[in-house]
Amino acid sequence: MEGQRSLELILARNLLSSISTPAFLVDAEGVLVFYNESAGGLLGRRFEEAGKMSAEEWGAAFGPFDNHGQPIPFERLPLTIALREGRPAHASHCIHSQTGEQHDIEVSALPLVSTDGGFRGALAIFWPMAEAQEYGG
């Protein structure tokens, strides 16, 4: 059995699984430990099918790239900044879904720090630009 997750990750997962905003959750080592159904719709694969992924694996699997089609270095991804620098970060970029679709998205990531100051991981929410335009964003 996996070791017990921290309460902060458990609560974050419960929150993400209860909302329709696409979102990712990574632990303190950068391992992708959960993404919700909406994120699964965007990525073309449910989390239950994909399972946990290391930082390198999820970076490669969803291939964030810029408006010129260039891959965004791993260290510049908002989630990586939240993890490594312990601060919120935001960016606009494109991702590939597992079904070959391309999505323009806005990403906001924030670190998860417990009340006793322990670093527990980070979460990132995604907003597809097509939906943003639909809502007048």
Binding site: M1, E2, Q4, L7, I10, S17, T115, D116, G117, G118
Partner: protein
């Protein structure tokens, strides 16, 4: 290891003719270890009666606070050993980035809420934030872990030899999740409670009451039973009774709980509702 319940009520003391059998005192459980060491879990109003039994020169008393809501600390000021200079009291509790454990408790034991200040207590009292790693008190090994409730809240597990008690009086592990479906790593409190000889767990609400209290930090019967079933504890004591639950209500609730527990495959004699003054010898 012997267990004695001194207060099983949640939220607020509820004395009166409706609660004489289950009791109206708030959370307090005494654990007496094989060498006589006393560990007290929470300091609700039940600790007052416990203190009255500790007459004469008391040994060191360890008090484990799960959190600092009033129903878990209200009895501290009325704990007789705290007013004896020869007593040593060590109070353990959750860490917070906001202030030290002593400072947070002193908000209650200070004017205008209290006629005495912490520094005026005659006993030798110290405050320690529960460590993230296992520690020892007497012959017992202790563990603490954060659990789902409102604000920084711990559950505790005490182990002596092959016997263990897990105490999670305020806990809402099913908030936003299905306890049936989650893998153990994602269940709040799982590691702490797994295989415990005795699990003392929150069961404040009936399933019908719960929809009006989602997010308040407490479990309905279905989640308390599912949690106990998932962690495979040997015995279960349902705890933290709602102040509105009369003895008659709790008698009927106990019947429902036993039926549902048996449907989950549990043995009826392994489940009970906590009753004030109930003693359990874990061997």
């Amino acid at each position: 290891m012997r267990i004695k319940v001194w207060g099983a009520r949640g939220s607020v003391p509820s004395p009166g003719p409706e609660t004489t059998r289950y009791g109206g005192n708030t959370s307090c459980v005494q654990v007496t270890l094989s060498d006589g060491t006393i560990v007290v879990m929470d300091a609700g109003t039940g600790i007052r009666n416990l203190g009255l039994t500790l007459a004469g020169p008391a040994p060191r008393v360890n008090i484990l606070l799960t959190h600092l809501h009033l129903d878990h600390i209200q009895g501290l000021m009325f704990f007789a050993p705290a007013f004896r200079p020869q007593t040593e009291i060590v109070i353990w509790g959750p860490k917070s980035s906001e202030a030290s454990l002593e400072s947070r408790i002193a908000r209650y034991i200070s004017a205008p809420l209290s006629p005495v200040e912490v520094r005026e207590l005659p006993c030798d009292v110290s405050f320690r934030e529960a460590p993230a790693t296992e520690w020892e008190i007497g012959p017992a090994h202790l563990r603490a872990a954060s659990v789902t409730h409102r604000g920084p809240t711990l559950g505790y597990r005490l182990t002596e030899g092959d016997r263990s008690v897990c105490y999670i009086p305020d806990h809402e592990p099913g908030l936003g999740a299905s306890l049936h479906d989650l893998t153990p790593e994602w269940i709040s409190g799982y590691d702490l409670a797994h295989d415990a000889s005795l699990l003392i767990h929150d069961c404040q609400y009936s399933d019908d009451e719960y929809p009006d209290h989602v997010g308040w930090g407490h479990s309905p019967l279905r989640d308390a039973l599912t949690f106990a079933h998932r962690v495979e504890s040997e015995r279960v004591l349902l705890f933290h009774h709602d102040p509105l639950h009369s003895d008659d209500f709790l008698d009927a609730f106990a019947g429902t709980a036993t039926e549902r527990w048996c449907e989950l495959g549990g043995a009826a004699e392994r489940l009970e509702l906590a009753v004030e003054r109930r003693e359990i010898d874990l061997g």
